[in-house]
Symmetry: C2
Subunit: 692 residues, 2 copies
Amino acid sequence: MNSTLYQAWLQYAPIKDEELAAVYSRLLGTVVADLQQSRVANAAIQELRNACRSMLGIVPSITSEVRASSYFEVRIHAADAEEGTEEIGEDSMGAGRVRLGAEGFRLEHRGHGQQEKLILTGGSGKGVLYGVFHLLRLLASHQPLTGLNITEQPVNGLRMINQWDNADGSVERGYSGHSIFYENGRFTENWDRVRDYARLLASVGLNAISINNVNVHEIETKFITAEYLPTIAQLADIFREYGITLYLSINFAAPLHIGGVPTSDPLNEEVRQWWKDTADEIYDHIPDFGGFVVKADSEHRPGPFAYGRDHADGANMLAEALEPHGGLVIWRCFVYNCMQDWRDRSTDRARAAYDHFTPLDGRFKDNVLLQIKNGPMDFQVREPVSPLFGSMKETNQVLEFQIAQEYTGQQRHVCYLVPQWKEVLDFDTYANGTGSEVKKIVDGSLHGMKYSGIAAVSNIGKDENWTGHTLAQANLYGFGRLVWNPDMSAEGIAEEWTRLTFGNDETEVAVVCGMLMRSWPIYESYTSPLGVGWMITPHTHYGPDVDGYEYSRWGTYHFADRDGIGVDRTVATGTGYTAQYFEPNAARYDSLEDCPDELLLFFHHVPYSHVLKSGKTVIQHIYDTHFEGAEAAAGLLKAWTSLAGKVDLERLTQVTERLADQAEHAKHWRDVINTYFYRKSGVPDAQGRTIY
Amino acid sequence: MNSTLYQAWLQYAPIKDEELAAVYSRLLGTVVADLQQSRVANAAIQELRNACRSMLGIVPSITSEVRASSYFEVRIHAADAEEGTEEIGEDSMGAGRVRLGAEGFRLEHRGHGQQEKLILTGGSGKGVLYGVFHLLRLLASHQPLTGLNITEQPVNGLRMINQWDNADGSVERGYSGHSIFYENGRFTENWDRVRDYARLLASVGLNAISINNVNVHEIETKFITAEYLPTIAQLADIFREYGITLYLSINFAAPLHIGGVPTSDPLNEEVRQWWKDTADEIYDHIPDFGGFVVKADSEHRPGPFAYGRDHADGANMLAEALEPHGGLVIWRCFVYNCMQDWRDRSTDRARAAYDHFTPLDGRFKDNVLLQIKNGPMDFQVREPVSPLFGSMKETNQVLEFQIAQEYTGQQRHVCYLVPQWKEVLDFDTYANGTGSEVKKIVDGSLHGMKYSGIAAVSNIGKDENWTGHTLAQANLYGFGRLVWNPDMSAEGIAEEWTRLTFGNDETEVAVVCGMLMRSWPIYESYTSPLGVGWMITPHTHYGPDVDGYEYSRWGTYHFADRDGIGVDRTVATGTGYTAQYFEPNAARYDSLEDCPDELLLFFHHVPYSHVLKSGKTVIQHIYDTHFEGAEAAAGLLKAWTSLAGKVDLERLTQVTERLADQAEHAKHWRDVINTYFYRKSGVPDAQGRTIY
């Protein structure tokens, strides 16, 4: 696995600028390190040496004493490597002196000419790790080091990846081949691949991973037993070396299924004891085990409801078991009625999470975090931000994104999701008045949460290039970077990724970044108009099927008829969902006039003749965006193929194939959607283009 | 497996009428038999003895000499048991003296009082078998035997069942549990169950079975090799005892995949030799092997097209290999473009079989039969008869029905299909002028075919009751009886089956027969209106999804828009499909005025306001039939539950559960279809009923 596909953004391509290489080599040829036995820091230095060998053709020597005139000094600052707290510098934005947390690092250049040194100070081994990866990014993007003086700390405490991998080797909503962890009910024990994954995650600052699907099946239910824990401990060991804490998704009904307890009632003493014993056993094997991820009472998964208990009862019971060990319970809020009768218009799935959870605010233990999907539905190409953010001020919260492109082209279409995520993070909830952005809620600052952060469903699998579509690597990269610092721009992240992945040819960087930045709007334009969502093939969620979810039990409707379309979620005439937001968001969404175009059909049912802020009617908007979107998809292919000769053949071909498929599929989307609405509305396209 | 569910129509329930039982017992207590070592005839006598033990509490003694004053004489008439041809009696309808074929029998009662005898003469052992089962039907339905004098012969030569069973144990389009033949890539070797299946098939006169799916996967490709033939020979042995010849579905690309030949080109000498050698080997194991069933160049199955050859080249190559052994090639005509672009309205899947095959008429070898589905599409609840029937006068033909209810409720809804099949058989093609009914084509009489008959896709599986829905047993029964004699009435067959299955309580018989006879019209009424078809969930084919197949590659469209619906297949403005029929059918279907209502949308695109012969508009017809259909489905449940106390609890419960599901699902169908068309047309229901 030494291909450019596999190396992703850790290509460490040789630096051909000899002058630059000489400067880097001089600075990095000698590493003066005092790593306090930290395995993480040592892994970081190993990464540095490998990268230098690859980029510069040198292998830095490691020493504890300064012998060279120029050198790279690496040290762990805090006395307590776990809790680095001493004031050591200004942050990168010059906002005054800050304390360096355990995960923070400072990177400073001093001196000049033949007498310069670079000093990396980590708040712990993890700080060193992140600092080294930061340095390697600078090198790979050919940045000068002179005058370097930055301090970085992660904004979010929990920076997590959720694998939806199953023991049988499949990956739920996986579009990149089978699991790298499992096959046929067993662990693959492909430790090299796991280590490379850990490197990728650590390189962008991620620090937690849950290794099995939130839908926990028979075998995975037993992961928390002595039968599987020794192997899982081996996995934890690999991830630990890269600063990543391992979590498991658990089956709430485990006591009943595998514990020999006749119930899983969270208030039952035997059940509570069983979980405590189980936690003890887990920590015997994995002393720094992260905790449990739990999907309970959701889509037929077992949960506390079966015993007349609520989510707080369920989560707290698990929290109690983990508490002595410092473990966390990450309890998902994706709870709704998935057996809804489509004829019942009073039930609104969008309302469900808020209705279920806000009454429980304040009742969760300190080591419980509620994991909330970015939107109220399910990772659609466009939906509003979940009103749950900011509504539970006494509860730890984690935001959940989906890197896997379940509803955004499944890594067969390119769809760079960082701009979408940024919209979510920058959304002002007004929970505490202006300035109550989602990012300030989930970083814990607004409401002073003990634990908080951001998690996302992984998009990787066994495919040579990890992510099916090579350009989808940018989403995994971007997720990590954005979670480290939500104030980074989507463009900046795209550019970083492109340089690391494809090199520093400016044309290439411009073309690839341009493609990435256009890709989400393009995907939206030829698929789902105006925030309506769900016009997709049931189950697979790939390709258009306008009525696919219209008469189903999933609570996912558009109510298109010959006159109009959209879901009335207003207070006066609809489901009242808009009232779940703080003002002024509530009023804005509730008002037909003020509601933003891109979410219009999510909140309102309007006639096809309704005129948007853009000045177009809804129906003409649908036609126009679909014609334009399909054309733009073809444009992506054209842009990419202009890079022939610049990109290596392996990646050129792989991406070309996907983009060609996307262009063809975009036409199919265009024609199905346009034809559907033309047949229904009878309104001809103002420009007389072909509709079937 | 001794339950009433399992026994199906071979219940052999004790006869409680003592007088009747005494008459039967006197006549059947002694069997005078000269069975010429015929295993089939001996199996028949064994069946008789078991049945008598069960129904009458006696075990008939078998003797070669007459000792009793009343007895049952069984003999094989023809000198050559395989080819019984001597004139021996009049046929049942008194239409003059007939020759008794090998599969025919004569059943005659002579004498009276204590001195009577019953004589069964079989044209061969198989004639005896069918005669015994006929006699047992008379007994089980409490018919008098006095004066009995009937001669029966099967109308169709090939009376075949196609199992779509896969080696992995699944059954394609199987709704009755897993395969009785296979599991996990191996034969179940559940010979008892196979024997009971053979008894069921033989009891209704079926004489051929293909034991594996027409989609031949990896393992099944090897069924024609020494690895599997010994086990298959055991199966053939069981079926042989019940007069049933075994066939295999083959993979046209077998020479390439398993033969070590670099091609499967039917004109390649090495390929031809491989098939000959393969045939020789098969017949070494199974001397009376029936032949091959072939799905080629259809839905991605391999075939001669890959080599620039046509269906005749492909079929004849196989036929040549089987010819020396007397084997047949059954070559399916289900050939169409399954990668169609829905935007292309000029391609019409309905045309495909005719367009592919009629140019080949006369080119097939004598031992090739073309197997043609009843309609041009695919076993829809309503479609016209395939225009291929009668169009290939120089080619042997087999009609293919589907007993499995793929598109007719999947054995979760009751849908007695014999009335549908009768419509097909009685359809006058006018191929040779008036009186050219399909039944006369497929029985070989109209065009003098060497081989012909009727095949059907089985509906059985491992479920206790064989067919998932207990009432679906009637379809397997009915298929056999109808193929034996296409002039039997659907009502008559329903009554026979009901009496054999549930007994002779007249109320019960009336209720069950009434349910069966209403069931197809009811299913049609709440599902697919006016012959339009395909408004179903893709892949599963269960439940409504009006646009499910509308924008797909399968060639299955309804073209509903806000103004109207239907497929224009006329000559002047449509696909020209109507011209594939002989006159006057062609003109009748082509004419909007003359086209029968029930097929209107199959042939014409009409506005919702179009007035049917019934006097209703199309849209009101849709509403009315769906409201009525759902109500009628509820009525089926009501009718059935009125039999509580009459039907044993096991079957009462099983059928009640299914009917309750059906009633609920019918409402879902009603509401989805009505809502879809109301939203699209905007026309309110004239009766103001609830549409969502």
